[in-house]
Symmetry: D2
Subunit: 358 residues, 4 copies
């Protein structure tokens, strides 16, 4: 349990970091979506390791194959099965950590849960699993494109370096112009330089990814438990290393008065709009037509290039040595993952909303 | 869709603010749980309106009946159906808002979604629905009691008044000793006085509820999409007026270095423990045996005792007048709701975890 | 688990035979369905005990209340909660069977499963639960009415008395004209007389309910596991006392050659039709626009007015005496239940089919 | 939707007859199940085409790869992803049927549902999809083996040739000793000869597969909608070409009297047993410890080697010519599929039952 997401547009992922391969099955993609394999490839490039000096230098090709569900360039309505083979899965020696619990990783908890674990590179708990999410998210994005819904995420904080500007005051087209994926070029340089310093310290640091979805029509979302922002929150919190989620006014909103926080309605042509958008485009769990925006907090990556105290499966005190090539900060590569999860939620809710009225 | 929560221990709620009644069906409660109706009643008293000068003065009796699933004081394994009748649902005149959209309420979005809405007191989008959650949560708590798992929530912030102390430095048994439900008596007084001032301004203010779950054994949680904290996050974000969720180090954690943030393992008798707990008791989405703790951010209540500009269903500009008896700050009454949702998630995941191993 | 049915149009039932009450929550009924409470009442009258000399003489009023989800005569899109209170639940003495396992009832299996059981009248395993299904099914029928889909069930066999005519050769409007619900008046009389004889023998007998759904457009159903007939089959097999299900050519079809069995397509105006309908209106699990028809086999009622050997909870040999007022044959009262379950399946699949295409 | 099955032990299949490949993801297999790849291969051999003169002569190698979820010979609790590549998917010319609707196939209904279809070999509606089920079913069987639960299916009828003996009077170990998979050698010969004649007539014929599950402990199954036999029925009806399902006394049971049909309980050592087993091992939807047995009716294969009248996508009258290599009777190859689906249901329910009691 736990490896599927969505109700109508539903994905199921599988695969470990160092198994033969990983993949995803998308069930519920409507027939007729134009599928552009190059676009999927581009999305996966944004996530893949080894893309810049501030990400891990590990090389993974992430080449995918669509096995089913697409015919003559279009989705057929049947499950889209995609696999990404692991090309070098047998090359590495994991004996030095095979019975050790790496601090703040999932080694101990998987062992407690299953009584057995695939210790190679974290097995299923590895962030490699998100490659399958990005592939599925690309399909969701292509679906949303038919409805003119777009999603943009970007890095808004790294350590203490915080972009104080709101997304409305930024040129989001600049996000992909730098390796840290911050749309403010000045701040981007600072962040890059900071992350590089952290890397040289053989350490890691956290950050925040902000995301905005535009073009979502009013009426998307479900009441009560499946509020749109609740599902978005779950989607984001399900990404490796995420520790927090807030939308609209978020945690800052707790300090406000209702008279300032409330978003006054007005008429704009044939549309109902709000003057402010503290609601983050969602009221009562349902979209109101305004931009949906939210922040996602990522902790510092747990793998550091330093020796750390720990215990092994027998409970003996051991030393875990930092080895390999890892990200000093996860947020640059997390940007496409946040977008993918957002796209998956919106695709699912868009389809569900077709069943609301007679 | 959207009115059920959980997979094994699964609840479905129904009912509008001003319909005949509301209720909940719990499917999947194991047989043999000792059901104490007085305890359910106490939990509901903690949520009910009219309990103090800083909550709404509206009176709702919230008297419930268990219709099924309990026999001779114990759960039977069959669905537990509970109803809470609305005693005065016909008494009020809603004609003054029947076609108006109240700012930052769900009036507009429900109308867009369904093309029809029950305008009486917000209908289904009213926080009255949470009465059913608290009733179900009480059952979940009684289940968790058999496993010595306990849950304590409390108010840690109101407006700018923030309790800087960690839950470990507080005497949580004091939470219920004051009407704002803050376990620090000094801060509680300040908060009460502050909320009372906001109320006199005919305004509202937000706040934060913190929660800690103790006694959760290691191994509870599911990988990937249904990570324990992702489901907790969804559960909290599904509560009316919630804008954010963080667990463990949360948003503050983004500023930390990995070398500080990582929770080092050590052996404590026959247990594996961590020296720090930035992980908030959850690693890779699965509990590690440490305390689970998180914060939930609530916006200021949307209903204010002031006139506000808006539009009606025809799109005409209208004035919405503040009427009735509403909460100046929602967090004191949100405390039992946060606990209830936490209990529901833990009960569900505890049962699921029984299927993990051969 | 097990007390909900459907994915989009989803019902959850609760309640025991002799608890305070039973009920159902319908989540996912689209907004705008005209709700006629009299129609629901009529449907429940068709199921209720005590309606004729060939059904149980027990009196249950089955008066329901809609607690939510309906406003000003229409569904609002929010959950429809309905309760049916048990008026005389405390009147009876069950001590004579409280620790005995009645043969071919669920007493033993519930006890094995839950370690506890509500022995009063079978508790949750009682067919009284189907009252909630019929109430929910009436809502589903009202939804289907908007799409001109109609459902007719009738008794086609009782013991050896088998109606050899196909539904096309019967006047289905006659079904409700007699107490056995067989549309052939001659056969109806024979069946009534036969059942009456069985009753006088203090025994019971089985039978078959046939059902036809007309007006279902082509394209309703899901591939692979959720084939429309698979879900119909599950729905029917979930009714108390059902032992078999077949659709279209059914078990007789196994004897046919493909060249006879295949339904040849032809054009009829702007429609594609089939010359024969051995497919029962479903091909590859998806409706083809022809009539959907199927048969449901019911075993003889397990409660007989005779002494039977059995064991009790301690494993001792005991005698179970037949007491109370029970149905000599269940099929006349099963007719509305079969229709209700069929309506629930069709309503659910109709809504799901809206998500198939771009 | 529709491509997943099960709640805890849950499979999702994907793949078309002539796409790149097909596969299955199993989520919820407990950790620790010994995985024998040879056994999976054997099971797939039983299903694969070209195995004898009375099945299709098409050659498909059905070679699978386990991509994830198995480590050092055991399941790890994470999703088991399996793929079966289609080796010759591009070799064939389908232009002769690309816009024609084959009678009693799913061509027309898929086209109506999705507005688009993969016409190569039936696409998703092809029985090739069952290869993935058999692979998943083999994993389920290996899980059940740990609990000493075994499943045996066999052919009990082909056309009018019906094996009158009950499974108790047959030597089920003989099932695999002949190509029709009937455990009665005499009847097997008759069936083989009969099918061969049908094949020479360029026609097809239906049949019945019977199945028995032994060793299922009492208490497995869920009340009300998810009765064990209802889920078994759905599982069987979801197999291509199935038209009916009955368990225990089945359709014959309708003719019986309750006094004959009821299964009397008695004590056998420390077990509660029943003297007869008309209940088919299931009472109230829950296993009672006796053998579970049922019958599955298959229609004659729709593809016949004869010309048939039909229409094309434009509605024009066309002739569909029988081409290729197809099964004259599907039941011999359906035996392992019936077993696989039965194993999947039992594995799922076995795990669910762990959550029933405190």
């Amino acid at each position: 349990m736990g490896n599927s997401f969505g109700r109508i547009f539903r994905i199921s992922t599988f695969g470990e970091s160092h198994g033969l391969g990983l993949g995803v099955v998308i069930d519920g993609c409507p027939a007729g979506v134009a599928i552009d394999e190059d676009f999927i490839r581009e999305e996966m490039q944004r996530r893949k390791p080894g893309q810049s000096k501030i990400t891990t230098q590990r090389k993974e090709e992430d080449d995918f194959k669509i096995l089913s569900g697409v015919f003559e360039g279009k989705s057929t309505g049947t499950p889209i099965g995609m696999v990404i083979m692991n090309t070098d899965q047998k090359s590495k020696d994991y004996s030095h950590i095979s019975d050790k619990f790496r601090p703040s990783h999932a080694d101990y908890t998987y062992f407690e849960k299953y009584g057995i674990r695939d210790y190679r590179g974290g097995g299923r708990s590895s962030a490699r699993e998100t490659a399958a999410r990005v592939a599925a998210g690309a399909i969701a994005k292509m679906l949303l494109k038919h409805f003119e819904i777009s999603i943009h995420a970007y890095v808004s904080q790294v350590g203490d370096l915080k972009l104080e500007k709101n997304y409305r005051d930024l040129d989001l087209t600049l996000t992909e112009s730098n390796i840290v994926r911050c749309p403010d070029p000045q701040m981007a340089e600072e962040m890059i330089s900071f992350i590089d310093g952290v890397r040289k310290d053989r350490d890691t640091v956290g950050g925040i990814v902000s995301c905005v979805a535009q073009g979502v029509p009013p009426g998307i979302g479900e009441p009560v438990f499946d509020r749109l922002h609740a599902e978005l929150g779950k989607a984001m919190l399900s990404i490796n290393a995420v520790k927090g989620f807030e939308y609209g006014s978020g945690f800052e909103g707790v300090k406000m008065r209702g008279s300032d926080h409330n978003d006054t309605f007005y008429r704009d042509g044939d549309k109902v709009r709000t003057k402010t958008n503290h609601s983050g485009g969602i009221q009562g769990g349902i979209s109101n037509g305004e931009d949906i925006y939210f922040n996602v907090a990522f902790k510092p990556v747990a793998t550091i290039m330093q020796d750390q105290e720990s215990v092994n499966e027998s409970g003996d005190a051991v030393l875990v040595s930092g080895k390999g090539r890892h990200d000093p900060c996860v947020v640059p590569r997390a940007v496409p993952i946040v977008e993918a999860m957002c796209a998956l939620v919106l695709a699912d809710y868009l389809l569900i909303s077709r069943t609301n009225k007679l």
